[in-house]
């Protein structure tokens, strides 16, 4: 089977190269047959890579440890869900996923645009298939997924315990598909540049792909942060780690792109800016893949020096230099059709929002690459920590939330100050009231957080007002009840109201970020059984230690009684899981304690805030028993050793030494993910195809056909 897999990959490489070559040849000779053939080759590539993925998944499901990748990332005891998803915890599997998703997305976009873009599409095909060939080449020559292991081992080493979590099942493919989907508008932008067809048609055809990419990246980021919050014992959701930043940067620049293309569609402006943004977004996506895979920056995720870092850097260089030269050579075709004629217009608000988003991405990029920069400048490798990122990104966040509210209120073209004043009046008044209420209500004085709350309130009221205006305007026109009128208005302009919903989500998300970071209480407690400690308004009592043995792990847990104002409100059960080590040099008993450990957080979660606890037992008192066990029972059968392990674990519960706890109160933290969910739903609402939208597209075709016929 490994041979079949390798053969499929080899065939894929040839097909991708053929598709790229045929597309370029067809474009240059204007021979449609070659173009059609290249498009079909893209479909064929989709089929071939699907086969490759299926071969690999089949091997995972049937525990075929003759596949090296299966032996290293799965085992017979791995649950089926994690067998299916273990593929992308490996480098070759991740790259195969990249290539596969690229082939599917390319097939989809070329199918959808098969009757349009006769000029642009072949060049876009060439770009996409060039990328495809690159990744397949990396797979074949750098990180082969179909390496045979002979003889096949009896058992695999299993999936890294930290990744055995539903969030981690979905997180990597979401990020990967986000990156891949951004390659579609990138490829069409390059096609448009090459053919000088720089009107908005490339944007219209790929806008939806950009929005899907944005949504998938957002989901990936949200899942990753939730995983960190629930599975890691430090209590945060974002650590400004290089690899986290690498996923955030393309999302930020992609957000800027989604906004500024509207300016080009409406006003014919910002053309250079738009092609630069999509090149930037895609380059940052490549940079993200490179940072994850190369280990140039110290990061908890960086997977050590690997074979694919160099080629990825070369690709990034080609993309950046090639695109820049192409844009410079086409500057004459990218002249704006209008000039910015008023500071009080939606396009200028969009411009400011764009500068903020790109500026934010830039400072994050600066901080992320700072170790390399400082090494180049001073010779010393120095890095900036989370404190730097928090300090420097906060002003951007505060201003951005303000603009999520202002943007929708200001019309295109030119708005008079009077009109602006009228729409701003209510939001501004209510925001001011909110600040007074917060200060009177005795909230701690954290100026930046309070300013953010004010701006977010402003934005939320402004957006609510937009929905209200839409509903009442439609009601005035067509009558009926207000909800029906609102529904009708929203459904008629999904893109606008989906966008506003996304704004509402982001404003809520940022409220959650500000509240949970500025008003958090955190305690590190060292408690013996029966002892209590406090965090915020809560009193925590360590009632007892529990032990739970499953075939794969030993879980030590704590029963923590929570009381507030003298009344018991809950019992939390944070735990720590110890997975056996596969290191053969560790003794048979010790290996159960020396392997990976993961935390199960104990949480009392609510809309007002979370009480978050993590537990770390002190197992050093077991060392003597474990050593003794290793000495006495090393020759015993595994079953008997298992009993010894269980006995040692049980003995620990009798009289456990004090354990460490971390307890945090995180006000409003859940709104980060609820806000994220709202934002993502808004984007999905905007992107969902409608019957009306299809009719409109068909009408456009009919009109174009009519024009061409009359001209002929």
């Amino acid at each position: 089977m490994t041979t079949l897999g390798s053969a499929t990959l080899a065939a894929s490489l040839l097909v991708a190269l053929y598709a790229a070559g045929a597309a370029i040849y067809g474009a240059r000779t204007h021979d449609r047959r070659w173009v059609v053939s290249s498009r079909r080759a893209v479909y064929a590539l989709g089929v071939l890579l699907t086969v490759a993925v299926l071969i690999l998944e089949h091997a995972f499901l049937t525990n075929d440890f003759g596949f090296e990748i299966v032996a290293e990332h799965s085992s017979t005891t791995t649950p089926t869900l994690y067998k299916l998803t273990a593929m992308w915890s490996s480098q070759p599997g991740g790259l195969l996923l990249w290539a596969w998703l690229l082939s599917l997305a390319s097939s989809a976009v070329l199918y959808l645009t098969r009757n349009r873009h006769r000029e642009i599409a072949p060049w876009a095909t060439a770009v996409l298939m060039g990328l495809g060939a690159f990744f397949i080449g990396l797979l074949i020559f750098g990180a082969p997924p179909f390496t045979k292991l002979s003889p096949a081992p009896m058992e695999g080493s299993g999936l890294n315990p930290l990744l055995r979590n539903p969030y981690m099942v979905a997180h990597p493919p979401m990020l990967y598909s986000g990156y891949v989907f951004f390659s579609i508008p990138f490829a069409f932008a390059i096609g448009a540049l090459i053919t000088r067809r720089l009107d908005t048609s490339w944007i219209r055809s790929t806008r939806r792909f950009a929005l899907i990419a944005w949504t998938l990246l957002a989901i990936g980021l949200l899942l990753g942060s939730r995983w960190s919050y629930e599975e890691l014992n430090w209590g945060g959701y974002w650590g400004w780690d290089a690899v986290e930043n690498a996923a955030l940067m393309p999302w930020l620049v992609g957000t800027a792109f989604l906004h500024s293309i509207m300016v080009q569609e409406r006003r014919g402006m910002l053309k250079v800016w738009n092609v630069s943004l999509i090149v930037g977004t895609f380059s940052l996506a490549l940079l993200g893949t490179f940072l994850v895979r190369s280990g140039v920056i110290e990061s908890i995720h960086a997977f050590g020096a690997s074979t694919v870092g160099g080629p990825l850097l070369v690709l990034l260089g080609i993309v950046l230099i090639g695109s820049t030269l192409l844009i410079i050579s086409r500057l004459d075709d990218l002249k704006p059709e209008r000039r910015l004629n008023s500071g009080l217009s939606r396009e200028s608000i969009f411009l400011i929002n764009n500068l903020l988003l790109v500026g934010l991405a830039f400072v994050i990029l600066w901080g992320t690459l700072f170790p390399l920069l400082s090494e180049a400048v001073t010779g010393e490798r120095a890095s900036v920590g989370a404190a730097f990122f928090e300090k420097i990104t906060t002003p951007f966040g505060v201003l951005l939330v303000l603009f999520t509210g202002i943007g929708p209120l200001i019309g295109w073209g030119r708005t008079t100050p009077g009109a602006v004043g009228r729409v701003l009046a209510w939001p501004a008044a209510i925001a001011a009231l909110a600040v007074v209420a917060l200060l009177v209500g005795g909230v701690e004085r954290r100026p930046l957080a309070i300013v953010l709350f004010a701006f977010a309130t402003f934005a939320l009221v402004a957006l609510a007002q937009e929905f209200w205006r839409a509903g009442s305007a439609r009601r005035a026109m067509s009558g009926g009840s207000f909800p029906a009128a609102l529904g009708g208005a929203v459904l008629r302009n999904r893109r606008r109201y989906g966008g506003y919903t996304a704004h509402i989500g982001i404003a809520i998300l940022l409220i959650g970020v500000a509240a949970s970071s500025s008003f958090q209480h955190s305690s590190d407690l060292r408690l013996g059984v029966g002892k209590s400690g406090t965090v915020g308004d809560y009193k925590l009592t360590y009632r007892k230690l529990t032990v739970d043995l499953k075939n794969e792990r030993i879980a030590f847990g704590a029963a923590l009684d929570v009381s507030k104002d003298g009344e018991r409100v809950d019992t939390l059960r944070p735990a720590r899981n110890y997975y056996p080590s596969s290191d053969p040099s560790v003794g048979p008993i010790a290996r159960y304690y020396e392997g990976e450990a993961t935390s199960e957080v104990g949480m009392r979660s609510g809309l007002g805030g979370d009480l978050w606890t993590a537990f770390q037992p002190d197992l050093s008192s077991l060392d003597a028993k474990i050593k003794e066990g290793d000495r006495k029972f090393s020759d015993f059968p595994p079953d008997a050793q298992g009993l010894v392990v269980a006995g040692i674990a049980a003995s620990y519960t009798d009289n456990p030494p004090p354990a460490s706890f971390r307890a945090n109160t995180n006000p409003l933290v859940i709104w980060i993910w609820l806000g994220g969910l709202i934002a993502v739903s808004g984007a999905l609402f905007a992107v969902w195809p409608t019957a009306e939208g299809r009719r409109r597209v068909e009408a456009v075709y009919a009109a174009r056909l009519g024009r061409e016929l009359t001209r002929a």
Binding site: E72, H73, S89, S90, Q91, N160, L162, L232, N233, W234, G235, E298, S299, I300, H301, A302, F303, G304, A305, S306, G359, V363, W366, G367, F370, P371, S374, E380, R381, A382, S383, V384, G385, A387, F388, K391, I392, D524, R526, E594, E596, A597, T598, S599, A614, Q616, D618, S620, S660, R662
Partner: protein
Amino acid sequence: MDPARKRKVRLVVALSVAVLLAVGLVYTSFSASTEARQPSELLTANPGDTYDLTGKVVPDSIDHQGEELLFRVQDRDGDQSVPVTYTGTVPDPFRDGREVIVTGSMQDGTFAGQRDTLITKCPSKFTED
């Protein structure tokens, strides 16, 4: 003012703002940054200065004393090592032999780690540990 002149003024203002912001960024990042050092390079360290100590946890050196975690860190490719004291969250993957980064300063021959600065690299499944 004629439009061309107005645009020029606007451009100059925008560029000066951008330059100011850039200078601010460079200044903040250099003043907020900490140098990375391996144990062997700490010998030349200024006492009191803050560094990011990087290296591997020396096997069998991990010990708990009350709130404090004591361990030794050695060079990635060498055996020079330095004792470390640390309080705060210990990441899940923290183990003998793992690569760690901890921020702190030298005090009487011991590297005193700042609270909650300990980072452990995810054990790599892609390459040999």
